[in-house]
Amino acid sequence: MTATERAPFFDEAFLRRLEQLELASRRLTAGRMKGERRSVRRGQSVEFADYRTYTSGDDLRQLDWNAYARLERLFVKLFVEEEDVTVHLLVDASRSMDFGTPNKLEAARRAAAALGYLGLASMDRVSVAFLGDGTATPMRPLRGKRRTHELFTFLSQPRDDRLTGLAAAARAYVSRMRGSGPLVLISDLMDPGYLDALRDLAGTRSQLSVLHLLAPDELDPDIAPDARLVDRETGHSVEVSGDDDLVDRYRARLAEWQAEIAAFVSRRGGAYVPVASDLDLADLLFDVLRRRRVVE
């Protein structure tokens, strides 16, 4: 099975580009599972992780001769060290995320898929969970590119969550959380308990990154005068009149809100990345997240 067949989100060329990146983990300086990175410390574990093509300088002891006998090609077996990194990807799947053009939830799935693939390609343990209806729905942790299909399949499954209950969902995830490493929350944070959630996530040993995902319609709304705004998540409505500077005030409030979140996350050593759902994924990964040192 090729990478392309496993990947409903991206084509093979894009996956190859992704392999140039890895998720940054500033809190971990040692004990990482080495994965594809050549190192004398590789192979200290007994847990098989993956294969990769042999290149000059690799330890000949790690060659899989059985594979050579079958395929007449040299592969090196990769093993997991016990101090490996766990990449936590939390995707907000509430109704409010299922909104916007492009759809925020779809954008979140793609971003999570890409980041998850980075983790798999780096032989990190990848833990993905949807947050919704006050709980977290995780999949079993994955490792190695062979699990890409599972990762993508999980991220592609339809969701029917109504409310976020972001704080409860985050707490639920943290309580069952195993392993530390990069923790990426992809959410619009449109939930009254967003600060509690961020506090809980930042309180772990993991490196928190918040991808604050908003639709272009939310960044720069085009609201006609005398409209009733209906909340997609709660069903509540808010009436607006022909108030001339309403949109301006909304934009100011949004900026203020983003600043509050950024400050909150920053104080806890995390990274805050506001993202529009129409942002090209390649730009997000290779430019924005790299500059924010979420990936490197």
Binding site: S96, M97, F99, G100, K104, D188, M190, D191, P192, H212, L214, A215, P216, D217, E218, L219, D220, D222, I223, A224, P225, D226, A227, R228, L229, V230, D231, R232, E233, T234, H236, S237, V238, E239, V240, G242, D243, D244, L246, V247, D248, R249, Y250, R253, L254, A255, W257, Q258, A259, I261, A262, Y272, V273, P274, V275, A276, D278, L279, D280, V288
Partner: protein
């Protein structure tokens, strides 16, 4: 207030306020979350039909608009006293001089504004008759109290290319004024040489004078003479400069639309410059003279003339014999002269008719035929009454008055040294005018028309004058013969004046003819006109240019034959002198109002239109206010940065 009932409209104000207090049925707009919106908007109680009235610029503007519209509907006015009578005859001059340009606008625009102002000044219940006057008058609206209709009629008046003649307009005004003693005649004019009637009107006349002094030059005369056997024509052109300053203009001559001559003419102020050009090819069909450049009046900067066909006219001189007359006539290239005594006249005419070579010109010297001859005729020293008028005696040693310098029949004719010993005292018939007269107006030489046949008379015996001994005599004879035997090709004269109807004789075999009008500017057109009893009447042309007459017949050999051509020119010195005239001579046409005349009429000036303008302006403000959010969104969309990353943490 003319319409206080309109106050009822004020009920719209509380209705508007009520609309603002009434909760609107709002359009549902789904959003991802109202999380942020809730912090911005005070939620409105969901089911209350009314809401608290909040200040809104939109509401304020709409209330103002409603109040202003109600105020306008009440038709507020200020009372005043009108200087006009209840019945006003408004004469708007639309003669050629009204097309004089001052800056970008012609005088007509100013005249229309003045005329509209007169309508505004009408007293309460006043009626107005709007008359457009050029060479004749045309009633546009009659005795109406509908001011809008009057203004609409005024706005439709355009300057013509016709000479001005207020005679008809004053005749109309006089008739209207006679029906209502409380009448005023208002003339909007530049008073530039318009003809006035001899008799005044029984109503006060006011003049709204328009125009200012503008420099203008004009082609005052243009004619062409075919030299016998020559390959070229002699063109005579006169350029007048009625302005107060010397002017230099370039005169261009076109033969059949091809430039054949051009020369600079310097014309002293108030004078004219005449040129004789001998470079026009004789094969030309028509000749145009054009003043290059622009001046205040464009319509007199072009003139046309037809090149006369080379044809011979048989002329019969009837009389006892006059060597001066015979010599002068015989020298004319177009004339084939025959002479006969009084007794032989009838036989000579009969013989000529039988030979199908009728005489085109008869000259009676001291003789008057018993019956009008039915062709062009020159009478010399007529002893008795005739078609030219009534002869009532003799005038001894008549003095020759200074003739009109623009009289084409006296072109090159210097009569200043001519003396007459005795002349016939002739009272001209209708249609006959004197071109040389005594200071008391008795005509010595005259021309006219007798039922379509041209005639001229010299009212004295050539033997009792030294005219026949002077150079002026053959020139005068040449001009008179040219007038009598109209040059042109066929039935039309060489040149016709704008607005002047033409009545000419046409072969009785034709019942209808086609008249083709080709104005100097714009598209030409055809007219089909009837021929009645062998006579054709062509209405006066409105534009300078050319016209031609061709036959209409079921016989293919007789159909579409061109039987006449003529040039149409302004040649109106009074119109070309665009300096505004003295309005007093027009005012003097009217009756001076007596002190005990009708009391001043109350008038009122309505003020609804500024209110309507204000309402429109406020409407625009309302539109801006209403659409300001949309415009702000648009502005943001235009200037929007890439939306990839918004927010302060970038």
């Amino acid at each position: 207030m003319i319409a206080p009932l309109a106050l009822i409209g004020l009920i719209s104000l509380p209705i508007i306020v009520a609309f603002y207090m009434l909760r609107l049925r709002r359009r549902d707009v789904p959003v991802g979350s109202t999380f942020l919106w809730q912090q911005l908007v005070r939620d409105v109680e969901a089911n209350a039909p009314w809401q608290r009235l909040r200040f809104s610029w939109l509401l304020l503007v709409q209330l103002l608009i409603a109040a202003i519209v109600v105020a306008a509907a009440m038709r507020p006015f200020t009372a005043s006293v009108s200087d006009l009578a209840a019945n006003v005859v408004l004469i708007v001059d639309s003669s050629a001089s009204m097309a004089t340009l001052t800056g970008d606008e012609d005088r007509m625009a100013d005249a229309r504004a003045r005329a509209r102002d007169v309508v505004e000044r009408l007293p309460e219940g006043g009626r107005v008759t709007v008359v457009s006057a050029a060479d004749s008058a045309s009633v546009l609206v009659s005795e109406t109290d509908d001011r809008d209709a009057a203004v609409e009629a005024i706005d439709g008046i355009e300057a013509t290319q016709l000479p001005g003649d207020l005679t008809d307009a004053f005749a109309l005004a006089s008739a209207l004024a006679a029906r209502d003693s409380d009448s005023t005649i208002v003339v909007v004019t530049d008073a530039s040489g318009d003809e006035l009637p001899d008799v005044g009107v029984e109503a006060p006349v006011l003049v709204e004078l328009v125009g200012q002094t503008d420099a203008n030059q004009a082609i005052a005369a243009l004619s062409v003479v075919r030299r016998a056997g020559g390959a070229q024509l002699d063109l005579f052109a006169a350029v007048a400069n009625p302005s107060a300053a010397e002017a230099t203009r370039r005169l261009e001559v076109y033969a059949d639309d091809t430039l054949v001559d051009a020369r600079e003419l310097t014309i002293p102020a108030g004078q004219r410059s005449e040129v004789l050009i001998g470079t026009v090819p004789a094969v030309s069909g028509f000749v145009e003279a054009r003043l290059a450049g622009t001046d205040a009046l464009a319509s007199d900067d072009r003139a046309f003339t037809i090149v006369p066909a080379e044809q011979t006219v048989r002329a019969l001189l009837v009389g006892p014999g006059n060597p001066y007359l015979e010599n002068a006539l015989a020298l004319l290239p177009r004339i084939e002269l025959f002479a006969v005594g009084e007794r032989g006249y009838a036989d000579a005419v009969e013989e000529a008719d039988e030979a199908d070579a009728p005489y085109g010109l008869l000259v009676f010297d001291g003789v008057v035929p018993t019956e009008p001859p039915g062709v062009a005729t020159l009478y010399v020293d007529p002893p008795e009454d005739g078609p030219y008028g009534a002869v009532s005696g003799r005038i001894d040693r008549p003095v020759i008055d200074r003739p009109d310098p623009d009289e084409p029949l006296l072109r090159f004719v210097d009569l200043s040294t001519v003396h007459v010993g005795r002349a016939r005292d002739i009272e001209p018939a209708e249609g006959v005018r004197g071109i040389v007269s005594t200071p008391r107006g008795a005509p010595l030489i005259g021309v006219g028309d007798d039922g379509g046949d041209r005639l001229a008379f010299i009212g004295f015996d050539l033997a009792e004058s030294d005219l026949s001994l002077q150079v002026a005599f053959p020139l005068l004879m040449s001009n008179l013969v040219d007038y009598l035997v109209a040059g042109g090709e066929g039935i039309l004269p060489l040149s016709a004046k704008l607005g002047q109807p033409l009545s000419v004789r046409v072969d009785e075999r034709f019942e209808r003819v086609r008249v083709t009008v080709r104005p100097a500017e714009g598209d030409g057109f055809d007219l089909e006109l009837p021929v009645t009893d062998g006579r054709l009447t062509i209405p006066g042309a409105d534009d300078i240019g050319m016209l031609s007459v061709s036959t209409l017949s079921e016989d293919p050999e007789l159909d579409a034959l061109e039987i006449g051509r003529a040039a149409v020119n302004l040649f109106a010195p009074d119109e070309s002198d665009v300096t505004p005239g003295d309005p007093q001579r027009i005012v003097d046409m009217g009756r001076v109002p007596a002190d005990d005349g009708p009391p001043p009429q109350p008038a009122r000036t309505e003020w609804w239109w500024p209110l309507v303008l204000a309402a429109l302006a406020l409407l625009a403000v309302e539109w801006l206010l209403f659409h300001r959010p949309s415009r702000q969104r648009l502005a943001r969309a235009v200037g929007r940065r890439p939306r990839a990353l918004a927010g302060p943490a970038r």
